[in-house]
Symmetry: C2
Subunit: 306 residues, 2 copies
């Protein structure tokens, strides 16, 4: 079933120990949609400038992504650039030019409003809420999203109001600690679940992820890649694989969101995040097949079972 | 079957965010033997000073640990102290008084020499080799051990000569990177296996461990504790649980060391490391039962399977 995704479509400049690309397609919404496209029909809500290139539209369209909600306005597309450390666990941001993204007021096309799945990417929490309010809430099967340190620190009340209405939240470990005020992840998870989302996924970068669902938890280690070319977008691809799988499986928050299905969704998220790192930017998605995805899912089974 | 363990028996002073203990039983050999004692009969080879207390002998003896090789000499027992950071991922050593450990020349009692299992704890690599040479090598089913950054950096040739004769090596991720010269753990593991040990366990602290065995690998995440009181000895307890389980199961390097048994050994290692952190020093081993251990083994199955 279809899935609406709101977030940034951007151009990125990235330097890693494996090379440097000055300008390439990026943005959280882009990565989420590309990863989700292997499981469901993504519909994106985002804004780009008049410099947005035809070939980038084409890549998104070639993956069956609905672009009716991709607004094009005068000006430049959001640009971000960063340089990764040698071990790629840290990165330094060298530019954040919001450009047309600064005035982003998400507007949902009518054709999106009955979609059962809604993923609210990392934007100002008030805007995330405004997007949900535009949806036909009676049709919504599952709503979730992510956030970041900036909103947790400076928009806390707004953020709490927003995530109170979500079925799941995806954040990384440092954000979970910041949001909950607890260093211990078990305690952090309980506190966050009390804020609203019954399902919580804590992403741990190369160390994998933890799923919390009610009182149960599931831990998956990270995939060991031969080479990490560029980790940009890996967390967003995790989100796209996770929710894309749930949308494809027709899971609903008050029904078939059984714990085992959520565990499989976490594995598909991990699989998509791992593929993302194998090439610069979105390059891996030009050739990636569902068969490769399912092959890596089996690899996860193989290297974690005992 | 019985298992010989060589290493340090010490007194430790430890400060963590949960409290401070000025002097308590510690040392790698102590932790390894205590953890292994739930699976096999450990026989320790170590040295203590004349300040070593009766109650500490008694604790070790109460767990069925053979103390025939625990030499007592004039002088003070090895003393180490350290202070942990708030997140307990770092620690600062505040004292390392080698005392009687400085002149340690391990001597195996006759009753130890036909033991089929040998674990060479973290001491000077030449001494590790000298211990193995005292064993009746025809009886040896499995030999392994660990090492540390100091020996890797300053005793490299000696260390390579030593581990060439081992069936397995246990080290942490930063040591694996240092020993192999490879940052990527997959590449690091291949290089280390070429140095001799066909089985390699890379410990990742709170993030669990990776087992490499021939061309296969297995990844287990770390257990999420409600509270980490004191991580001192957790890596040694991992080693004790790992090899203790293999000794208890009667596994041999050229025979029944099948991959699945090694995976279970890694889980038992993880289980023992997790219990170790629940109290200061060796306290947890005063009450820990095999039933609790097997219960946590099942918990690992539960939170990792999908």
């Amino acid at each position: 079933m279809s899935m609406v995704i709101v977030g940034s479509v951007a151009y990125d400049g990235v330097e890693t120990p494996h090379g440097k690309v000055d300008r390439m397609l990026g943005g959280a919404c882009t990565y989420i949609a590309l990863a989700a496209s292997y499981f469901t029909n993504p519909k994106i809500v985002a804004v780009v400038g008049d410099d947005f290139e035809e070939k980038d539209y084409d890549l998104l369209a070639s993956r069956g992504i609905d672009l009716a909600g991709l607004e094009r306005v005068a000006g430049k597309t959001f640009f971000w650039s960063g340089v990764y450390s040698k071990d790629m666990n840290d990165r330094e941001t060298t530019a954040t030019d919001l450009n047309v993204f600064a005035g982003f007021q998400p507007k949902l096309p009518e054709s999106y409003k009955a979609s059962p799945y809604l993923f609210l990417g990392n934007i100002q929490p008030g805007l995330q809420r405004a997007v949900k309010e535009q949806m036909n809430t009676a049709s919504l099967a599952l709503t979730g999203g992510d956030t970041m340190n900036y909103w947790i620190a400076d928009f806390r009340e707004e953020l709490l109001k927003t995530i109170a209405g979500w079925d799941f939240l995806l954040i990384n470990d440092s954000e979970a600690r910041m949001l909950s005020g607890e260093y211990n992840l078990r305690k952090a998870a309980y506190k966050i679940q009390e804020m609203g989302p019954k399902t919580l996924v804590i992403k741990r970068g190369e160390h994998g992820a933890i799923l919390w669902h009610g009182e149960q938890h599931f831990i998956v280690p990270g995939y060991l890649l031969d080479d990490v070319f560029d980790p940009t977008g890996a967390g967003d691809c995790f989100a796209g694989g996770f929710m894309g799988y749930l949308a494809g499986a027709g899971v609903t928050a008050n029904g078939s969101a059984d714990h085992n299905t959520l565990r499989r969704a976490v594995i598909y998220g991990s699989v998509m995040g791992s593929f993302c790192c194998e090439r610069f930017g979105v390059e891996r998605f030009r050739t990636l097949t569902r068969k490769e995805i399912d092959g890596r899912f089996e690899e996860f089974k193989d290297f974690t079972s005992f």
